[in-house]
């Protein structure tokens, strides 16, 4: 990132601070950067930030693993079987556009508040990118490779573990990266909308109790978390797969 990129955020922070100092704003919706920083420090110091991060990330990771793996398994099966792909085409097209937030009340009814409800919704949301991208990745494998596996007399399991997964791995990781971003977004959304735990809930609670400095501190922290997670996975992707893995998918 070039240095010019820092001008705007720095300018915004300074202007906000100056305005707060000069006009002495103490509003229900705005806070001075110094107050936000102080609130962030408080959250860090009393450990509550770690607790809420833990709650959010635990749900996100569990949902990602559950939904992601289910999507992946179905993706491999569909990717290897054109017949099944054709048969399941319309059911999948009918289910896919259901917005993940719509299943919230269903799981709320089944599980009540807590981890299970949140994890189930995240799993539902993470299922689709893995299925769609994964299937494209598996069906896009060089046919010659599959012929090789046939010549070698590999069984289905051997074929999947020795040929299909390694060949499709770069794009599968891409799907995983996308799903990871979605898992964080959905967990925060569920917490904001309903579930009384985690970063999203604390963000909402700070707003409800009219503490804008805490609200902005958590908001910035969520941004930082998302950005860091994305950067980390991007880095891993480039390290693992090089330039081949960084191709963009339509989102």
């Amino acid at each position: 990132m070039k240095w010019q990129g820092f001008i705007l955020p720095a300018g915004l922070v300074l202007t906000a601070e100056a305005c707060a100092r000069i006009f002495g704003i103490s509003s229900d919706s705005l806070a001075a950067p110094s107050q936000i920083l102080k609130a962030a420090w408080m959250l860090l110091a009393d450990g509550s930030l770690f607790v809420m991060t833990g709650q959010t990330l635990l749900s996100a990771v569990a949902g990602l693993l559950l939904g992601g793996c289910a999507g992946l398994v179905l993706a491999v099966v569909l990717g290897l079987s054109p017949t099944l792909t054709r048969l399941l085409r319309y059911p999948i097209e009918a289910l896919r556009p259901i917005p993940s937030i719509a299943v919230l009340p269903i799981f709320l009814m089944v599980y009540g508040f807590g981890y299970r409800m949140e994890i189930a919704i995240i799993a539902f949301a993470c299922f689709w990118p893995n299925l769609i991208i994964g299937q494209a990745a598996v069906s896009g494998i060089e046919p010659r490779l599959l012929e090789v596996s046939r010549v070698l007399g590999l069984g289905f399991v051997g074929r999947v573990t020795k040929i299909v997964l390694p060949a499709a791995l770069p794009r599968l990781f891409l799907a995983f990266r996308l799903a990871a971003a979605i898992s964080l977004i959905v967990s925060v959304t569920v917490e904001i909308a309903m579930n009384p735990q985690g970063l999203g809930y604390e963000l909402m609670a700070a707003q409800n109790s009219l503490r804008p400095e805490v609200m902005f501190a958590i908001l910035l922290y969520i941004g930082l978390l998302g950005w860091g997670l994305n950067a980390l996975l991007l880095f891993a992707q480039q390290r693992l797969f090089g330039a081949a893995g960084t191709a963009q998918v339509p989102r």
Partner: protein, 254 residues
């Protein structure tokens, strides 16, 4: 694959869909899953019909769709407009783009509390938050589309002595169209999700309130009917955008 074969597969796929509904019905009839949680397709269908004929479902659907579309249109106009301004100037891009890249992974729902803080728990808040949350994909895609014009085309514009405005409208904007369309698709789904979240939080009617109330009262057929309507909204908006994309981006297919 011949047309006949394609039609055959389509019919088979629809048959699979119907069979899945059949299994769902079977599970419901034999109470393999508690009927409190899983209503049968027959009950869901009845709730759907009843909701539209006697209840509020039609009205609530309209409310949600209205919010989604207002917010989305607002976000699309603002996002493309601002994106065009930022994207056309290299200096503006260097100044603003990194900040936007930081905001991009931020869950758009996290903006809801901020929206409430500014606008309060009102109907305009929901539209405002929907617009605010779904503006980012449009904004970023437009900036990208405007800045990634083939250098040769910029030279063509220079040789033809196009004005700045002509350059923007005749070259940069059409060049950004594919990016903008992809982003508008993403933005529409975001707008739908945010509308529902906003309705759940603000109790401002709409499908969000409908499914939440149904869930609290354990009226699972009403809940499933609401979820199906939401799915239909998602499906329909996707189809409409695909149709528009196919029309406006015809030049991309050889």
């Amino acid at each position: 694959m011949s047309r006949l074969q394609r039609a055959g597969w389509a019919a088979a796929s629809i048959a699979v869909g119907i069979a899945m509904i059949g299994i769902w019905q079977f599970i419901a009839w034999h109470k393999l899953v508690s009927p409190v949680f899983l209503p049968g397709p027959d009950q869901t269908w009845a709730a759907l019909v009843d909701g539209f004929e006697n209840g509020m479902l039609g009205e609530q659907t309209l409310e949600t769709v209205e919010r989604m579309i207002y917010g989305w249109v607002l976000a699309s106009l603002l996002g493309t407009g601002l994106g065009a301004l930022i994207g056309s100037s290299r200096r503006a891009r260097e100044l603003i783009a990194p900040t936007l890249e930081f905001i991009r992974p931020l869950p758009s729902s996290a903006m809801i509390p901020v929206g409430i803080a500014f606008f309060g728990l009102t109907k305009s808040m929901v539209v405002g938050v929907v617009a605010f949350g779904s503006i980012w994909p449009m904004l970023l895609a437009t900036i990208h589309g405007f800045s990634a014009v083939e250098p040769r085309l910029i030279e063509v514009g220079r040789v033809l002595k196009l004005s700045r405005l002509q350059m923007a409208f005749k070259i940069a904007f059409p060049n950004a169209m594919p990016d903008i369309f992809a982003a508008m698709r993403l933005g529409l789904i975001t707008a739908l999700i945010l509308s529902v979240v906003g309705e759940i939080l603000a109790f401002q009617g709409g499908l969000g309130s409908h499914i939440l109330e149904a869930s609290r009262a354990y009226r699972s057929p009403d809940l499933f009917a609401g979820v199906i309507v939401l799915g239909m909204i998602g499906l329909t908006s996707n189809l409409v955008l695909s149709f528009l994309e196919a029309r406006f981006l015809r030049w991309r297919r050889p």
